[in-house]
């Protein structure tokens, strides 16, 4: 397999863009990426397009990728439409990586795009539930519930087990809202206090509104090619994909003793990249509910069980810390347009690694970074999909 580099990234801002269709959002991300890479549409050999809700929310099924690429002037090439809940864009990147790593293509485009504001938020919420197993969504189960009480994370249970408080749950939201306030592409740019987060409306006990990612439109893209081909396109620092891991969840039986799938997928990514958690200089992770960040700290190997809040208290994961987490603002502040999120994370990491992140630039440019995603709940008591990508300069 060839070593693969990301030579261009780009994004559409996240937020509410009432007048814009899927293809308008994607166009901005795609052409920002082409321009960033110094590439033309004719350079692209193959494209992977991730989207999750376009069929239910916009009426466009089946060929969403071809529709958005045609609008951006890219036609005739192989287009693979991929869908993997909140990891759809991560799946698109993995596809592009495999095309180039294998030699099937020299230059591959990965796009993630989502249009969630369609004038009826009840419809959007229902569509979001449909990315979990329909047997569960039919019974009224929502993502928020699953974070609150689902056996695999059970944040409410962690309050008893770890002694975590509502203020602890608010800490990642507060940290990330500060990061997001520095990000011109972010949906929510207001820095929040612990009090504001704790006192916002309860959505599902113990989660409050400001702990939850909101509805969002957005798009992001990346172009990859063999490392040695990168200078043909751009003089910018090529960012290598050290590992790009995708896993589905296990069927969990109570007390089966299985390691959590977020841990399993992260360990696979570390192993493939030949690094460990201590080598990471920055992380973008899946804080669809902000307190999940605390759980992910331990599952990604950053701390021992229950020590999550300490990492924020001691400033370790803040923007100026040893290993900044969610410098973009994360899902709650930067925004979580479901099918775009994985590539929004990648774009942020590439900007940070190049030193192009503006006001939120990590002072010491990160050399090794991780993007982490998960999504979709199954009857088997696990998330459907886990994606972990490790980047290196």
């Amino acid at each position: 397999m060839r070593e693969v580099a990301i030579i261009g990234v780009g994004a559409h801002a996240t937020g509410q863009f009432t007048e814009k269709a899927l293809k308008d959002l994607a166009y901005t991300a795609i052409w920002n990426t082409l321009d960033d890479a110094g590439a033309e549409p004719s350079d692209i050999n193959v494209a992977y397009v991730g989207n999750s809700l376009g069929g239910l929310l916009t009426g466009q099924e089946g060929v969403r990728g071809q529709v958005v690429l045609q609008h951006s002037g890219i036609t005739g090439i192989p287009v693979i439409n991929v869908e993997n809940a909140c990891a759809s864009a991560a799946t698109a990147l993995r596809g592009a990586w495999l095309e180039v790593a294998s030699g099937a293509a020299d230059v591959a485009l990965a796009v993630g795009v989502e249009k969630m504001f369609v004038g009826d938020s009840a419809r959007t919420i229902s569509a979001l539930s449909a990315v979990s197993e329909v047997d569960l969504s039919e019974m009224g189960m929502q993502f928020t519930t699953s974070y609150a009480i689902h056996p695999k994370i059970n944040l409410k249970g962690k309050m008893a087990e770890y002694g975590w408080t509502s203020a602890d749950f608010a800490k990642p939201a507060v940290k990330n809202s500060f990061n997001g306030s520095l990000n011109p592409l972010a949906q929510h740019r207001r820095p929040l206090s612990i009090e504001q987060v704790v006192q916002s409306r309860i959505v599902v006990d113990p989660l409050t509104l400001f702990m939850c990612a909101s509805i969002s439109d957005g798009a992001a893209a990346a172009i990859v090619c063999p490392v040695e081909m990168a200078p043909r396109f751009t003089s910018k620092l090529p960012v290598r994909i050290a590992s790009c891991v995708l896993r589905s969840g296990m069927y969990r039986l109570p007390d089966d003793g299985f390691t959590d799938s977020a841990t399993v997928s992260a360990q696979a990514a570390y192993e493939e990249a030949g690094i460990g958690p201590d080598d990471l200089n920055a992380i973008e992770l899946h804080d669809a509910m902000a307190p999940a960040e605390l759980m992910l700290y331990e599952r990604l190997g950053l701390c021992a069980p229950g020590e999550g809040p300490r990492l924020i208290d001691e400033g370790i994961t803040t923007l100026s810390g040893r290993i900044p987490v969610n410098p973009s603002g994360g899902l709650c502040s930067r925004g979580h347009p479901v099918g775009a999120t994985g590539l929004l994370q990648i774009a942020e990491l590439v900007w940070q690694m190049r030193g192009e992140a503006g006001a939120r630039q990590i002072e010491k440019r990160p050399k090794v970074t991780m993007a982490q995603n998960q999504g979709g709940l199954l009857l088997g008591q696990d998330s459907a999909v886990y994606g972990v990508t490790i980047l290196k300069t």
């Binding site: 019974m139 519930t145 609150a148 409306r201 006990d205 113990p206 069927y251 039986l253 109570p254």
Partner: protein, 146 residues
């Protein structure tokens, strides 16, 4: 009344029967799952799963009150996970007889299955499903088979 997941629920047809869930048990390794599956998730055997009646009772594993409802539901409402004595840990809603208030449910408490409409909304009031209520609550007649 229609049944939400008919292959997952045993609905009594006479007064001597009690409702329960229909799971599956593996002939090879005795794993019990809910809902039924044709392949054992523990030992991956195909065709080893036999239907079993389960879930008449359970223990509350976790619970929360959802303050916002998806389409077809009414907030606030309880959402819970219940550990069945036969093995599975399942997602469930809580019977209407149980007031939706903090302190009413407690993790670890004994629960008992009831059948009732999915939600008191136009979309779901004619759709029968399983729910759980604290076992200590006085038994009521559950909705019959329509």
């Amino acid at each position: 009344m229609n049944i939400l997941h008919p292959s997952s629920i045993f609905v009594p047809t006479d007064a001597k029967q009690t409702p329960c869930l229909l799971g599956a048990r593996c002939d090879e390794c005795a794993t019990v799952v809910f809902p039924k599956m044709p392949v054992c998730p523990a030992c991956q055997t195909n065709g080893s799963m036999r239907e079993v009646q389960i879930g008449r009772t359970g223990k509350l594993f976790s619970h929360t009150i959802a303050r916002f409802a998806p389409k077809g539901f009414v907030a606030p409402f309880f959402q819970v996970f219940v550990d069945l004595p036969e093995g599975p840990r399942i997602f469930a809603l809580v019977g209407a007889e149980c007031p939706v208030e903090a302190g009413v449910l407690e993790d670890g408490m004994d629960m008992r299955l009831v059948l009732e409409p999915l939600a008191d909304t136009p979309e779901n009031s004619d759709l029968l499903t399983y729910k759980y209520v604290p076992a200590g609550r006085p038994e009521q007649r559950t909705s019959g088979h329509a």
